[in-house]
Each structure stands twice: as C-alpha cells, then as structure tokens.
C-alpha cells in the first residue's frame, strides 16, 4: 500500500504542469513544466518502491532530455511564438474529443478490472536492478546499446551540414560587403555623440539626426530603445534649443 497523501501530491505535481502542454504559449514554459512532471514521476517511482528508477528518471529526464529540449529551443529561437488559433478545420474539437475519449476509456477499463496486489514489495534498489539487467536481460541491454549508438550517429548525420565551398576569408567578406553597397566600415556605435552615453540611444550624425541602425536590433525587437524621439523633436522645432532644458 502506498501513502494516500503522497499519491495526491504526486498527482497534482504531474497533472497540473502537464496541462501546460495544452495551454501554455511559450515553449520554454512548457519545457519547464515538463521538468516538473518528470520530477513528480520520479517521486512516484520512489513511492512505488523503485528508488533506482526514480533516480535514473531524474538524471535522464530532468538532467539530460529536458535540457536537450531547452538547447534545441534556444537553437531554433525562443521567439517561435505559437498562435494557439487552430488552422485545421475541426482538428481541435475532434482532437480533444479523441484524447478525452482515449483517457476515459483507459480509466474505465482499469476501473473495471481487478488486478492482484502482491504483499511483497519488489526490491527496486540498484543491486536488484543490476542483477536483473545484467543477468536475465543482458542481451536486451546490449541491443539497447546498439540502439543508442545508432541514435547518436543518426543525430550527428541529421545535424551535420557539409561545407560545400571553402570558408570565406576576411578579405572576401569585406569585398562582398563593399559590392552590395553596405557600409565599408563598422556601423556607428549607439550613444556616441549623444548626451546619453547608453546602448538604447541612437548615435547622431554630424547634422544632429539620429542614426536608427546604430541601435542593436535585439533592443528594437524588444521595444527597449529610445528611438531618438527627443532629438527628432529638437530638429523639427528649432526654437527648442538644447540649453533650454
């Protein structure tokens, strides 16, 4: 028998974060919630007298798999916001219905069967697991080793991009830049020639106009720039001298 309180804590710890899979907008939030679910499952394993598996669960899932997910999320861009509006007609309701029906069926079936409950607890400590793994299931373990190696090689193949042409030298980079008519020199730094010595303020050209592209693009996306509004206002209204302020 397992602790009832423990069960409900685990249930809450798994089901509630799992729901974020359906409702959270940002993938990072989802990933963090799933980490919680994994921790909850680890707790469940320990409760079900499988302490070694619980540890493995934490190490493999929260430590490796979910971190891998986060890496990939960073690679493809955290910005990949998802519009939750459904695009395929009927997919949402049929999908929800199907998933709910699946869950309902499973629950009702489990409720209808009577399963034996052993008095003896299985020994889930590392020693027992090790004996089982490397004795009875040693062949399976070896096959799994192949699977893992294959997966590793597969991942390498999938993510590998062969270099089709030689790496550009600095000279070539510069030539290309001149050819397309870009600035041959570095862009002006933000905040230079400005009173505000700050990154979020555009530089001013000799005429006193703000140079928009001197500000970091990232700040523009985040709407964290000053946009040089005050300088433009000063240019448009000559009566307002700098000294007046």
């Amino acid at each position: 028998m397992v602790n009832t309180v423990m069960f409900w804590i685990i249930a809450a710890l798994t089901v509630i974060p799992a729901l974020s899979l359906l409702f959270a907008r940002k993938a990072v939030h989802v990933a963090m919630s799933v980490v919680l679910v994994m921790v909850g499952l680890a707790a469940a394993y320990v409760t079900l007298s499988a302490p070694f598996l619980g540890m493995v669960q934490i190490v493999v899932y929260t430590g490796a798999v979910m971190m891998l997910f986060l890496f990939v999320l960073m690679l493809v861009g955290v910005d990949q916001r998802e519009d939750l509006k459904e695009t395929i007609k009927g997919q949402r309701w049929i999908g929800l219905l199907a998933a709910a029906g699946l869950g309902a069926f499973l629950v009702s079936i489990i409720g209808r069967v009577t399963l034996p409950t052993a008095d003896t607890m299985p020994s889930g400590d590392p020693e027992a697991v090790a004996i089982a793994l490397f004795d009875r299931y040693v062949l399976v373990i070896e096959v799994l080793g192949f699977v893992l190696i294959t997966a590793a090689v597969g991942a390498l193949v999938l993510t590998h991009t062969p270099r089709l042409r030689p790496r550009k030298t600095q000279l070539e980079v510069q030539r290309d830049r001149v050819r397309v008519g870009a600035d041959p020199v570095n862009k002006p730094m933000p905040g230079v020639y400005a009173r505000h010595n700050a990154l979020d303020v555009p530089a001013l050209d000799p005429e006193g106009k703000p140079i928009e592209h001197s500000v970091s693009r990232v700040l523009e996306i985040r709407h964290q720039t000053q946009e040089g509004a005050e300088f433009r206002a000063a240019l448009e209204d000559p009566s307002r001298k700098e000294g007046d302020r």
Binding site: T4, F7, I10, A11, V15, A18, L19, L21, L22, V30, A31, V34, V37, M38, A44, Y45, L48, S49, A50, L53, V60, Y61, F69, V72, L73, L75, V76, Q80, E82, E86, Q91, R92, L96, A98, A99, L102, G103, L106, V107, I110, G111, L115, P116, A118, T120, P122, S123, V129, A132, L133, V140, L144, V147, L148, A151, G154, A155, L156, L158, T159
Partner: protein
C-alpha cells in the same frame, strides 16, 4: 492506497500527452507530448511491477527510458534539420504529403 490509482494517473497523463500531440503546432511541444506519453506508460509499468511484487516491470520501464532517450536524440536532430531547411518548426508547414 491501491497502486492501481497510479495506473489511472498514468492514463490521464497519457491522454494529456496525446492531446498535446494532436493540438499543438510547435513541433517541440508536440514532441514533449510524445515524451509525456512514454513516461505515462513507464508509470503504468512501474505500478504493475509494484502490484505484482516483481522487478520485471521496472526493468521494462528502464528499457523504455533508454529507447526514449535515443528517440529524443533523433527526434530533436530531425527538428533541427527541418528548422535549418524551412526556418520554422511548425507542424503545419511541411505539407508535402498532401494528396
């Protein structure tokens, strides 16, 4: 408390994972749904192991965990490759299978 409740919990988690696969367009989130489904199965296996008083269920969960790890590696590799090719990871985008 009867360990059968964990099986019911596993069923619910499984359904949530399936719903995530069906409803989310972000490939990574859908993939996490798949992971959740695998883990729900694991939970059921461990619960059965507990009920039978045998260790074999745990061993099966162990194997599933290993295979899931391999699957994650390959799956994320595919996602990266798709992203490189299309600059998006929306599941609705690759519709070449359209008949």
């Amino acid at each position: 408390m009867d360990p059968i409740n964990f099986v019911i919990l596993a069923s619910i988690l499984f359904a949530i994972g399936a719903a995530a696969v069906l409803l989310r367009r972000n490939a990574i989130i859908a993939f996490m749904g798949v992971e959740l489904m695998l883990n729900a199965a694991n939970l059921a296996l461990v619960a059965f192991s507990r009920m039978h008083g045998e260790i074999d269920g745990q061993i099966m969960a162990f194997f599933v965990l290993t295979v899931a790890a391999a699957e994650v590696v390959v799956g994320l590799g595919i996602i990266i490759a798709v992203f490189r090719a299309r600059q998006t990871i929306s599941l609705d985008e690759p519709a070449e299978l359209k008949g």
